[in-house]
């Protein structure tokens, strides 16, 4: 596969565009799912969509992908509202409700699918691509549908941006301000369901939840600002789509869906480790630095104790007498000296007045601490 194939090869171009769009919309809407603590909703909905697909086929008898999408949308929405109903009306918790809807709807869908397979009208071939997803079956029409849905959801997000943001971070307050939280809730949920349903055909039922979560979870690590997060997530999603398609096209037997998911997972991993604010690497470095500072302060405090016993605070002491206290090294002593808190001459140290004062105020709660 060459780079120019992306522009000349019709199939590849379609698939790349489709997966990029899908990644973008999933990232965008997934941000809301993640922040609303509905991460596993995607998993449940993607399974719950199956009976809708089967029923739509049973009722209409044709395999028109838009009709099937409508069926998926309807049953996905029913599943979502049942989940909400179970959580609200019974003592069952959301994880149980999610698992219930997921498995029960999917099982019912399987029943219908196998029932369809037995029908004389053997038009059903290809329905199972919704289970595992086949990006290769994307055609230009599907990409158009995706583009339109992405556009519409973008517009809706922009229109209701303030309200949705408020709803995310303080639902109760939003209510007291007089916004119709129920409407907002249904609005954003409906669009999440829509995104999931769109992705079924491309990456399949199981991998859909990762498509929704991974870009958002990665983006979350880089920023605390909602708009940046949504933008970044859309970007990550789109990139995962493009890279995943490219990698899977470069070799035989690499299904597109799983590769996209793994690329997205790699984004998450990189973000977990390398993001400057929250990442594990920088966090570890920060911890280490804090630990060192703490050690220095402990040494200083210990010196302060010794210096207190002398009238002259800058009376020199042997470094040796610090030995029964473990918190110092050559380097930390050097650091303390650099800060002008102590003076070192050969094997002797002495406190400077500045160091003495610093140690005095260190544990006093009333002095403002410098970070």
């Amino acid at each position: 596969m060459e780079l120019q194939d992306f522009f000349t090869n019709y199939t590849l171009r379609t698939i790349t565009l489709g997966t990029a769009l899908l990644g973008g919309i999933c990232g965008m809407l997934g941000s809301f799912a993640v922040l609303r603590k509905q991460s596993l909703l995607g998993d449940a909905i993607s399974h719950a969509a199956l009976p809708g697909i089967a029923l739509a086929f049973l009722i209409t008898g044709v395999k028109d992908s838009n009709l099937l999408l409508v069926g998926a949308l309807v049953s996905g929405l029913i599943g979502t509202f049942w989940i909400k109903g179970i959580v609200k009306r019974t003592r069952l918790k959301s994880d149980t409700a999610l698992g219930l809807v997921l498995s029960l709807f999917f099982g019912f869908g399987m029943l219908l699918l196998t029932f369809i397979q037995k029908l004389p009208n053997a038009n059903q071939a290809g329905l199972d691509k919704y289970l595992f997803g086949q990006a290769a079956t994307l055609v230009e029409k599907d990409v158009w549908v995706m583009a339109i849905v992405t556009g519409v959801s973008l517009i809706v997000l922009l229109l209701f941006w303030k309200e949705l943001k408020l709803l995310l971070f303080d639902a109760e307050y939003t209510k007291t301000l007089g916004f119709n939280t129920r409407f907002l809730d249904i609005l954003i949920t409906a669009f999440i369901v829509l995104a999931i349903v769109l992705g079924l055909q491309t990456v399949g039922v199981v991998l859909m939840s990762a498509m929704l979560l991974a870009p958002a979870a990665a983006a979350r690590q880089w920023t605390n600002k909602l708009s940046t997060m949504v933008g970044l997530a859309a970007l990550f999603g789109a990139f995962a789509g493009v890279f995943g398609t490219a990698i899977s096209a470069s070799s035989n037997n690499l299904s597109t869906g799983p590769v996209i998911v793994l690329v997205a997972a790699a984004f998450v991993l990189l973000s977990f480790v390398f993001s400057p604010g929250r990442g594990l690497l920088f966090r570890e470095i920060r911890f280490q630095r804090n630990r060192n500072t703490l050690k220095e302060k402990k040494t200083l405090a210990f010196m302060h104790q010794i210096a207190q016993t002398h009238e002259d605070i800058s009376h020199p002491h042997a470094i040796r007498i610090l030995n029964n206290f473990q918190g110092f090294t050559r380097r930390t002593l050097k650091k303390l000296e650099e800060q002008g808190l102590i003076q070192i001459e050969g094997q002797m140290w002495s406190m400077t007045p500045q160091g003495y004062e610093e140690a005095e105020t260190m544990y006093s709660p009333n002095t403002p601490e410098h970070e």
């Binding site: 019974t90 149980t96 498995s103 029960l104 037995k118 869906g257 997972a265």
Partner: protein, 386 residues
């Protein structure tokens, strides 16, 4: 009934019990979705096991698959510990990644074996009787029957041995820890057990039905009882009923057995969800409605007590004074009349002595904030409840 039919139903019933037992604890521990994650993330374990042994029936497969299930749980916990994302996000990230690895491994290397994803995800109970275990020349029955019986037996032994510990750590983690039980050990014990069960069961019924068999019976049972033991028994019964009934539905429709067992489970749960005596939706809605009327009634009585002018208490003006819909004011008036709390003379409402006493006491309870007493108070004064 043919032999094969009996065998299929037996396997299905045993799988149902083996799933319902750990399922009860998963539902109570709010970890139901872990079963979904495990059921998908065992895939790479199975594939790797197959590569190593080149034998789809090797016990190594079960072991490796269970191991990758436990590994998922472990990774989810590690991610969660970093505090970068919430637990459910961690679950949602890990298992699709595992599953993807499994799918790619299969596509790369195992295309020619019968290990295809459809079979793993969906399972086919109907084929179970064909894969039989022989000892010499003797037919010992279907292999999956042996596998699932062993797993069920193991589950039962563990469950009975560690019942106390499991119970305590499920309902009061803090107390369990302070009594010296290791919640981590029990947690991973339960997770390993669930993984093994999922692996043993999915071969017969597929990944998704395993999840249904784990969660749905336990969820239904939880709406019916408060006792752990009853819940374990009830969920096993639900599982078995669905397994057997589901088989016959599949037989009648000539459709997937796993799918119809799940569908029957779904119906069972739905019925319990609607009609469970205390916790079903209907009874909850009824209770909510009654409570809202009772609150309205109390508001109404307090209003009567606070206003001595006749016009404030005129039946026809009540609506505008307390701002209620017509229907609501009527049902509240009826309730108060029926219980002899008010009296209506010439369309003007008065509190009866009984109503006066009730209002006073209620007011006292409200101002001193003893909520528990209000139920008892209502029992004393009410003959009819709205």
């Amino acid at each position: 009934m043919s032999n094969a039919q009996i065998e299929i139903q037996l396997i299905a019933a045993l799988v149902a019990i083996a799933c319902a037992l750990p399922g009860t604890f998963l539902v109570l521990r709010k970890m139901a979705m872990i079963s979904d994650a495990i059921s998908h993330s065992i895939l790479p374990g199975i594939v790797l096991g197959f590569f190593l042994t080149q034998d789809l029936n090797s016990p190594w497969l079960i072991l490796l698959a269970a191991l990758s299930g436990v590994l998922t749980v472990f990774i989810v916990e590690q991610i969660q510990k970093t505090g970068l994302v919430k637990e459910d996000t961690a679950i949602g990230l890990v298992f699709p990644a595992f599953f993807s690895v499994g799918v790619l491994l299969i596509a790369q290397h195992a295309n020619d074996v019968h290990l295809d994803i459809d079979a793993v995800l969906l399972g086919e109970l109907a084929f179970a009787p064909f894969d039989r275990l022989y000892w010499g020349d003797m037919d010992l029955g279907p292999k999956s029957l042996w596998v699932i019986s062993t797993i069920l037996l193991g589950t039962l032994v563990l469950l009975i041995t560690f019942f106390k510990e499991l119970k305590l750590s499920t309902f009061d983690k803090g107390l369990a820890t302070s009594l010296g039980f290791s919640p981590v050990l029990i947690h991973y014990g339960l997770m390993s057990m669930s993984s093994v069960t999922v692996v043993g069961a999915f071969d017969a019924v597929g990944a998704v039905l395993v999840v249904a068999l784990i969660i749905a019976p336990a969820a239904a049972a939880y709406l019916l009882t408060d006792s752990l033991k009853t819940m374990l028994v009830l969920s096993s019964i639900f599982g078995v009923v669905a397994a057997v009934a589901g088989y016959w539905v599949a037989y009648a429709l000539d459709a997937s057995i796993a799918g119809s067992i799940t569908t029957v489970l779904g119906l069972l749960f739905f019925l319990v969800y609607l009609f469970a005596p205390k916790r079903g939706v209907i009874s909850v809605i009824y209770k909510e409605k009654r409570q809202s009327i009772e609150v309205s009634l109390l508001t109404f009585l307090l209003h009567l007590q606070n206003h001595s002018q006749e016009e404030e208490r005129h039946v026809n003006h009540l609506q505008e004074h307390i701002n209620w819909q017509r229907v609501r004011s009527k049902s509240v008036l009826d309730l108060a009349l029926k219980n002899n709390l008010i009296q209506i003379d010439n369309q003007v409402v008065f509190l009866t002595p009984k109503g006066q006493e009730f209002t006073d006491e209620a007011l006292r309870y409200i101002t001193t904030n003893k909520e528990t007493a209000i139920e008892e108070l209502k029992d004393r004064f009410f003959l009819f409840r709205g």
